[in-house]
Symmetry: D2
């Protein structure tokens, strides 16, 4: 089968690989749709260290091709969605309530990390019963594929933000995950959602997904503006959706005492992420810092699919580009170099 | 001033009373709008015991008339909203996180219970700084008054229901509080909201406030239908919004193991509320039963007003009737006898 | 191998059975110690319906005899503890945070329910990596076996009771699970622990495990006495550890508004468990009712074993009787008929 | 009356001041015992900015001298304890569940900050009903005074640390607040408590208050040693009880994915508190950072006093020095310069 791989740090391309075989509890899925993620670029640039001929991609849907002998819930022919994170559900971390950390820190992150990803004609899913959800007929593959990571991670930003009903939320950066955090804040009942973003097309998407106010950090002081919009109090919740030290500091500053900084940004650089001491109340202002990694699992995916089925959200508005798998090299270039106001690139197999 | 009172059990009417005087931390508000609540009927029928010439009503807004010497946040002329529940914020119960229970069980319920209510030209508010919220210019009194009890109680049903994003929720009974629980379930991100109701006009309101499905208990078996709609699993959350033993039992039955029965119904009759033993998993199925009493306080009211300001919800669709205070006797009759498909009766002063 | 079985409702005895075989992820354990539980009696009396030649017992430890090909964490020769509840960790219920409900209500309860139990020379454990914990050398089998159910269930009563540090707790009934709830309340930082019990030997054990006060319901009014001991307020937490309608009602009555009734009792009889309406604050007093089923899993077992290793508790004081497996019939009779002031009966293989 | 004040930054001494007068809801207390806190030294050195003739001290008990006309729960002659933090309970922050942040970040911190403290013959308490607790006869002033800050703050470190029963906890620094976090970890049911400390007398106190293991950071690598003691996993909870950037970093490193860093240290220096990026899982390892400021209020103080009454803990073992108020200058010098292996200095009036 054809696979789009990271040959080594900095180099991508197609490669022929054998179709994977399922273990007793596993499944192999024939890919139909996939999305390119910023993390794929991080990985190619060496963000998780060197890899050799690793198939990229962690957001994918498809049709079950083959299952192992212990699999009960899915069978060949089922249209299925795999979470980007595919935990080991029996691990200590999962038993502790943190399946994404199974086996090791971020250990549930297997696709395009500790094993081949979904940018191939077929991909392998561990613990298929626990990690695959069937896609209802009413939902197209092109929509379902957004549940794998974008909805799961973005909504987690809102969920871990402990948003009170009617509360105030700032989402810092309106990339695809930030947009879904914006939508998630609305879904959790925020009374005021403020999106921080400078790119006009993303500002517009943010408004569409529920931002009541947009703050453009290139022309306004974010801290001042948020204080103004919240009556001088600061926000109940700030979601950091970029993964930059400066943005994180802003998040701490704009959160009120008793509020939560919910981090969903991937911090790729530097030795430290820095908390501004005074605005953190010298360590005593009840400003909680929460984090997490994209929740996976069949139940999570089912709940996200349900939100699509009942039309709570339409993630396909983020699809700015659509390529066939054959054009993966160009597709990756567009996503990687952030050309043409790209938000998300959909790959059709 | 004129007040509409419960003269004794079963008898209501107008009475002249002196305008109340504020203590050091209190305020007196000149009433502009109020709503009649089912609780007013309960009270008149003796639900909280005998009362003599007690002014009825606990959902009211108005303009500050006079404040005590210690009041800092509001002053005469401010348009204000008082929560139906006006806790003592320094009480042990409030320090424990349960301000509605301040001083005694349900001790924060003062209006038309332990002191005169809001169906009068003026009403008294204890601890005005903590219990009054200013109403933003953009919000009409006729909308703001819904925050006092309907939004606060209904939304609490959703909040205490511990709804997972994308989860399934059943709201049993679509009276005004049930309708707001339905809206609250949507605001908390439910993926499927099922309203149980038999009255067509209320079914329609329920759909408008966010019910995806309506189950009519007069023609369908609620338990069977909910199981069907939830893939045989039962709901993540059931909100009991009626206060009837049979409905409570249904709520337990339709909730899945690990789910929550969130009670916002007032149980006015019988010695017991009964949990069906087997469907409760013989006491071991992780089905939590949560309760509460309408949250009050300035912060709560501010957050609810914010949801009106950002147009998350329009509660005035529930206003089926509007009377002037002079016609209070007829207004009360309509509400009390549930005439003319009444949902909520608004009183204008 | 020899197994002690429930032949049919009401009849127990020895039977020869083949040594079980492990599936790919399973283990077979050679039993060394086991405990008889009140549930075994319930089962024999038909509490979970008819069974034929079902091996009894769910509290057991032993030495790994054989493992399936997928098992990684344990191997033959390891001394191991299995939780009484052995969930399917990939199930929806487990992913939802309620592994004990995996597959069905109480679905994690497999031993002596949906498969053979531990009163046999060998027993089978599903998902061995997730459900078995190695026993540290410093801990004897006779102590470790208490973690399977007694510590796990009793402590859960305290954990789900949401005890504030320095709070007041009442544990109703000081059988072995109630005793461990008493110990659990101490372990969670209760400032006052009140045990309700009439049997002198259990009262003494309760004091030893941390009860500050004992209330004998045969000579005192429990509600009155608890109110007296809590300054008229009621308790922060009441743990129902008997499973009787009357006791449950008392639990509701003695819990203060904002407090929690934590149920660990198995309700074996009657159509309903009844909540006293008025003392439940007509459904509005913020009295939460929590339930659950003995948490299982490797992590849980490891944490409980850790508490034994650091000598936080000595459960072996509950061992009033010790029989060899050969004398199982007499052992069961003592436990079943509650002879000789029995608390727990240890079986040595 | 005599008061021990900070005359200006760097200078302390006695001053005569008038006895304070209570407002309607306030009380004035005649001081009987007080404790010196490290914060007093921070304040004198300018930690909270310049102050002129501010009475120092925030840990005090005494006898009610006079109350305002609205006070109901205490009266002259009552022996009382005031929390170090005396919130405004009606404030938005308190209604939000964070009373210590009332009015402003750390706004509940009034004694020796925004008003005169307790190192005087009399001190003033705002909202006396909500902020004073009566001291039971069985508890001596010299013990009760520890509840004001040491127990409340230290235990908060454990409470916010979200310790699972049987979990592993590291408390970094065994000063008086760290010692109480150690005791708090035991009270919350930790299965293994590791204290980090180099001073032998404090190591000994730590063992007495419940540390199972002591790690001396001057001779061992804390990260390595904690990993070794926790089987390579890291701790469920790390309590930072020093307020130093390096210690905070260690706290992040030794906490396992899914664990909590609970900060109770006061960070007095530097622009930033730094999170080590990689060990924080690049922002995705579910390592929560929690903070807070000493909980105050009557209920909190009653619960802490209850723990003294039922002998769960004896804080007086930390009293290394006792001076009369007349010798306050020498007392302050001992505490400030950390002479003679001082832990806590008790002042008797």
């Amino acid at each position: 089968m054809r696979a789009f791989v990271m040959k080594e740090i900095g180099q991508v391309g197609f490669l022929d690989k054998p179709i994977p075989q399922p273990g007793p509890g596993d499944a192999v899925v024939r890919t139909t749709s996939a999305l390119i993620c910023t993390s794929d670029s991080h990985t190619v640039r060496g963000g998780i260290g060197p890899r050799e001929n690793l198939t990229l991609g962690h957001e994918g849907v498809g049709v079950v091709h083959e299952v192992g002998g212990e699999v009960r819930h899915v069978r060949p022919g089922d249209r299925v969605l795999a979470g980007a994170i595919t935990p080991d559900w029996g691990s200590s971390a999962a038993q502790n309530g943190y399946p994404s950390q199974s086996g090791a820190p971020l250990g549930g992150f297997k696709f395009a990390n500790s094993k081949d990803g979904v940018f191939a004609e077929y991909f392998h899913v561990n613990d298929a019963d626990a990690n695959l959800a069937k896609i209802p007929d009413a939902i197209a593959d092109e929509a379902a594929v957004y549940c794998a990571d974008m909805l799961s991670t973005g909504f987690m930003g809102a969920e871990k933000g402990n948003i009170p009903i009617g509360g105030t939320v700032v989402v810092l950066a309106q990339g695809p995950v930030g947009l879904m955090a914006t939508a998630g804040a609305r879904l959790r009942g925020a009374g005021l959602v403020i999106g921080v973003e400078s790119v006009p097309s993303r500002q517009e998407l943010a408004r569409g997904y529920g931002a009541d106010e947009i703050v453009d950090f290139t022309s306004e002081d974010v801290v001042e503006r948020v204080l103004e919009l919240t009556g001088g109090e600061g926000a109940d919740t700030a979601v950091e959706a970029l993964g930059a030290d400066a943005t994180f500091q802003t998040a701490v500053k704009i959160t009120k005492p008793g509020g939560t900084i919910s981090n969903i940004g991937y911090f790729g650089e530097g030795e430290f992420v820095r908390i501004p001491r005074v605005e953190w109340g010298v360590g005593m202002a009840d400003k909680t810092i929460a984090t997490g990694l994209c929740p996976g699992g069949r139940l999570r995916m089912q709940r996200l699919l349900r939100l699509l089925r009942t039309q709570r959200i339409d993630p396909t508005r983020m699809t700015t580009h659509n390529f066939r798998f054959d054009d993966m090299e160009r597709a990756f270039e567009v996503a990687d170099k952030k050309l043409e106001d790209v938000v998300k690139v959909l790959i059709t197999f």
